[in-house]
């Protein structure tokens, strides 16, 4: 049986659907990452431990990743 779409509540807060989505996905990712982290990965012997850089989180509101295919298409159009 198909899952019926939720009825849209006009009073629903704009981000409501997205927030629900985020909550589910965050939980899923947390579980997944935890299960992956639980598997120890062998380190090469005799090498100093590399310091991890703090990942730079891109600013919201900008295109964070531009697909290579877009460049290729633009090239082809020229």
């Amino acid at each position: 049986m198909a899952k019926e779409p939720n009825k849209q509540d006009p009073e629903e807060e704009k981000g409501g659907e997205f927030d629900d989505f985020m909550a589910d996905i965050s939980q899923e990712i947390a579980q997944r990452v935890e299960s992956l982290d639980a598997k120890p990965k062998p380190k090469p012997q005799g090498q100093p431990e590399e310091r991890k850089k703090t990942p730079a989180v891109p600013d919201a509101g900008v295109i964070v990743d531009w697909p290579n295919i877009a460049d290729r298409m633009i090239e082809e159009m020229r």
């Binding site: 198909a2 009825k7 990712i29 997944r32 919201a60």
Partner: protein, 201 residues
């Protein structure tokens, strides 16, 4: 496509909305975009013709922020449904992690749905991806049309969903089923996350 990168602590998932022309792929992305909170709104790139048909593809980067220490991004794409944009569809499918097949529920569009599904399978195979195992979710869209014009869900599912993957009834034009579909395909993609081999990031 690398899905999880321990080196940079990033998770990136590419999800492609596939289906025949005018089935509602772009409408799905537009609804998702409309529901994004302002602080997460990037730019939805849409290349459409003057008649509003998708010319190349739509691209919606979804930056979910840092989750469990990983900067998480979903990249949502649509393909142009029209038959003559076959080359574009192949390009967009490169590195795909999951597919949403948006079927048009109208009875008269059944042949187009089947043709598009066959096209998807052929293109995935060309990309070296196994169409039998790639995360896939079906959305039977336009369920708001009069009953006389649309096929019953069961009939659509019997014809199109031979892999027995999750399927959803959709009314993308008002957002019905859009996030349920996205959540389902995202879940399937995430369930396949794997640690990189030793020596990789």
């Amino acid at each position: 496509m690398s899905v999880v990168n321990y080196g940079t602590r990033e998770i990136t998932c590419k999800i492609v909305y596939y289906g025949p022309g005018r089935s509602g792929k772009t409408t799905n992305l537009q609804h998702i975009y409309s529901k994004l909170p302002e602080e997460r709104k990037g730019k939805m790139v849409s290349l459409a013709t003057e008649t509003d048909r998708t010319l190349f593809f739509d691209f919606l980067p979804l930056d979910l922020g840092t989750i469990s220490g990983f900067a998480t991004r979903f990249q949502l794409y649509t393909v142009p449904g029209q038959v003559y944009y076959a080359a574009t569809r192949k390009l967009v499918l490169q590195g795909v992690d999951g597919v949403v097949f948006v079927a048009d529920s109208q009875s008269r569009q059944l042949a187009e749905n089947i043709e598009s599904l066959q096209d998807l399978h052929a293109n995935l195979a060309e990309e070296g991806l196994d169409p039998r195992t790639l995360p896939l979710v079906m959305q039977y869209n336009k369920r708001d049309l009069p009953a006389a014009e649309i096929s019953p869900i069961e009939e659509l599912d019997e014809t199109l969903n031979f892999r027995d993957v999750p399927y959803f009834s959709g009314i993308a034009v008002n957002g019905g089923g859009v996030f349920e579909t996205l959540r389902s395909v995202a879940s399937l993609v995430l369930s396949r996350l794997s640690a990189p081999a030793v020596g990789e990031t």
